[in-house]
Symmetry: C2
Subunit: 147 residues, 2 copies
Amino acid sequence: MAYEQLKLDNQLCFRLYTAARLTMGAYHPYLDPLGITYPQYLVLLVLWEQDKQPVNDIAHKLYLETNTVTPLLQRMEKAGLVKRTKGKEDTRQRIVSLTKKGINMREQAKHVPECLSADIIKNEGSVEEIAQMISTLDKLIEGLKQQ
Amino acid sequence: MAYEQLKLDNQLCFRLYTAARLTMGAYHPYLDPLGITYPQYLVLLVLWEQDKQPVNDIAHKLYLETNTVTPLLQRMEKAGLVKRTKGKEDTRQRIVSLTKKGINMREQAKHVPECLSADIIKNEGSVEEIAQMISTLDKLIEGLKQQ
DNA sequence: TCAATTTATATCGTTCACGATGCAAAAATA
DNA sequence: TATTTTTGCATCGTGAACGATATAAATTGA
């Protein structure tokens, strides 16, 4: 019966979609006090690893389009977390750099990953299963990345 | 070094978030011709399993809030896929039912799951790994569902 | 060198997602 | 029964995502 496949329970994507939303929701207790959203936190993670990057590099590392990242960065600039300056060699580029506030937030967010890990492990139990899933997700993402 | 944990690579949520977006993107070639989005497809899956459900039941099955589902259903009604009628016993309820167009779309969407499975398996390889991941995702979702 | 093409970013429009709030109907309770 | 509380849905505002389109700067190539 082909219709069997149309059942919600059978679908991988639905679980990814749901798990992603619920996991992002689990960040709320830790990110709300900092006044940032999860996508903004991702941008900060990228900039904490390496400051002063063009929009394109940030978008690429997050697998996002620049038309998603540009407004995101504009909001973050308005919030005083980043600065966006014209590129020196290539004036088409916008170099995004951390402000003092953006730099300081790294210290305030230091414990977020541990808190999340604790929340997830507490709920799920097996560290090995999570590790295995991360590996499978990486392969899935790698495959889907190139259309 | 606590900062090590702040690295993007270490994060489960980032992978779920990315995999979910890319997987939803993989539905585009199959859903665009039908004129529906992925969340709309999810609503149809729910209604194909059982027609005539109140907004709340649909939202619950998709782990979404009613304030997400209501506008979604309004757009689907405008597109002629569903009808929304006042509940008989409980007049607060809105009973959502499929139109002819909504019913017929089941046949047109019959092969979508196979196509997606093929795309994913082709890219990833191991069916067992996907099955294992689905099981882990279910536990993760179950744990996160109750805050 | 000058036109054609590509690249980096921005803008626009539509659809989600969700917290906060509103409102009427139902249920609970005094 | 009258009042309070809860429930079901809707509306509003904000922040993503992303396809389509625009624009200026850089690159390519004739």
